[in-house]
Amino acid sequence: MKLLEIKNVTKRFGGLFANNRISFDISQGEIIGLVGPNGAGKTTLFNCISGYYPPTSGNILFEGREIKNSPPYKVCARGIARTFQIIENFQKMTVLENMMVGAFKKHKYKGKAFKKALKVSEFIELSDKNFEYASDLSPPEQRRLGLGMALATEPKLLMLDEVMAGLTPKEIDEVLDLLRKVRDSGVTLIVIEHLMRAVMSICERIFVLDYGEKIAEGNPEEIAHDEKVIQAYLGKSYAQG
């Protein structure tokens, strides 16, 4: 049974098609890459899935149940967590508190939530900063915290929006290891990423969006040799990459 099914999802802002009849589905335990040039509609798709935008048309099923029009907090309750492209966390709260907010979803009591948060910060290797205020963390750490907050909600599906933006190659490798660890812990991942190298190295399957349309789908090899993709995007990116 598929974990997430996207069926002809279209999101229109006025005349602009941010997403146009996009369909794909994801099964338990995959790591999916979602790539495409800026403005391809990747983040819009995330927002549709996580309930920030209602899709204009089409349907979204999670574990076979429709989540198209449910608000973000319900989507989260169903087991979908996400991070944000720009660093977003609760600046005036400590690292642990940040993650406790997430942990409270599964653990109503403070003690339990606290323990959960400790575990997560262990997992994302942030334990030494547990009592720092989020605002005092370095950008990479803040990205990691974002990941941690999402993990604390114990999601089945985790959607990461450019977690590696602005990191050094070394830091990127750390994050990649982290993501593998997450996958091994049984969480399915969708990763929006610019850096093809990163995506290629961990994703089993990759979807490529361009101008709101899905132009290609397949494993890294296929994508790497897909004509449309190379035209649209990949060539230059590889060169840089």
């Binding site: 005036k92 409270f104 403070k110």
Partner: protein
């Protein structure tokens, strides 16, 4: 955080608590006791406001409407149905909580300034309605019927203020404990999260609207409690004295002065500003018309300039470090 400071703080806390407990016996003059009672009353108001304004980010200028609802409910119930004020206090609290929830619907989409204006309108609507509603005495207000002998049951004490002192102190402590408990529970974390970034909060499974409602309801409830106390204490209420922009503004200014979103800040603010106003007023008598509030206004402006986060900011170091150990354990 060094141990020396720890002990200093602990001991000073102890001294202060004791001081507050024996205060009425140190200062027998009713006026000083009155000031403290006002401090407690406004303290509870400010704390309740902080829950709404400081934590849930809803800057209400209509808070004295909740205060008034509390004052009126208990008094009306006492006068018309002879129901004892303690019950009236609870009923009033719940009623004002409900009103709070109702008013939060039209205003749910509003933020910051916009919300502030809406609450102003709400305040006036309530006031005008009470001013013209015969059943609740309209503009003539209501006199709480005096019972011959002091009685705890009927919440009236003649001759001495001391019972009022301890009752209001008790109510304040209860209010603060309740609020702090909420703030430290899941709800509190959620409210803080919402204040920081509603967007992310939602993504972590927080039902924004729901927790805003909880905050308003609780806040309105507490405000109403101090309203009932006011009615029983002054034994006479009318729309201008029970539901006035004056009270609302005072509460907001006091809280901001102390530092919002901290519970302690508003308490601190009250403890300083209320005695200040009362004493200047009493000291200058008729000669100093307006001076008390000139000082008040000036103090607020200055505070906004030098420390927008309020006086409490200067006491940040004053935390007892036990918090972490508790949680770690």
């Amino acid at each position: 955080m060094n141990v020396k400071k720890e002990n200093l703080i602990r001991s000073s806390l102890l001294v202060i608590s004791v001081f507050i407990l024996i205060y009425p016996f140190l200062f027998k003059a009713a006026f000083y006791q009155h000031i403290m009672i006002m401090v407690f009353m406004y303290g509870l108001l400010a704390v309740s406001w902080d829950l709404m304004g400081g934590y849930a980010n809803m800057f209400s200028f209509g808070h004295s409407a909740f205060f008034g609802i509390g004052a009126y409910t208990s008094t009306v119930m006492l006068i018309h149905w002879g129901i004892n004020p303690w019950i009236g206090m609870i009923v009033g609290g719940c009623l004002s909580g409900i009103v709070g929830v109702l008013i939060s619907y039209p205003t749910s989409k509003l933020r910051g300034h916009y919300f502030a204006i809406a609450t102003l309108a709400f305040l006036f609507v309530t006031k005008i309605l009470l001013e013209n509603w015969r059943f609740v005495g309209a503009a003539q207000g209501l006199s709480v019927p005096m019972v011959k002998e002091s009685s705890l049951l009927y919440f009236q004490f003649h001759g001495s203020k001391i019972p009022y002192y301890y009752i209001m102190l008790g109510l304040l402590v209860l209010g603060v404990v309740l609020t702090k408990w909420v703030i430290r529970s899941r709800i509190g974390y959620y409210l803080r999260a919402l204040r920081e970034s509603p967007e992310v909060a939602q993504s972590l499974g927080i039902n924004t609207a729901k927790y805003r409602l909880i905050a308003i309801a609780l806040s309105a409830f507490l405000a109403a409690i101090s309203g009932t106390f006011y009615a029983q204490y002054v034994l006479y209420i009318d729309p201008p004295s029970a539901i006035s922009l004056h009270i609302s503004v005072q509460v907001v200014l006091i809280s901001v002065f102390g530092g919002t979103g901290t519970i302690n800040g508003p308490l601190l603010g009250t403890a300083i500003l209320i005695p200040l106003i009362n004493l200047i007023g009493a000291w200058l008598g008729g000669a100093g018309r307006g001076i008390a509030f000139m000082v008040f206004g000036a103090v607020i402006v200055v505070m906004c300039l030098i420390q927008p986060d309020g006086l409490i900011k200067y006491f940040e170091g004053w935390k007892l470090s036990n918090r972490r150990e508790n949680e770690a354990a």
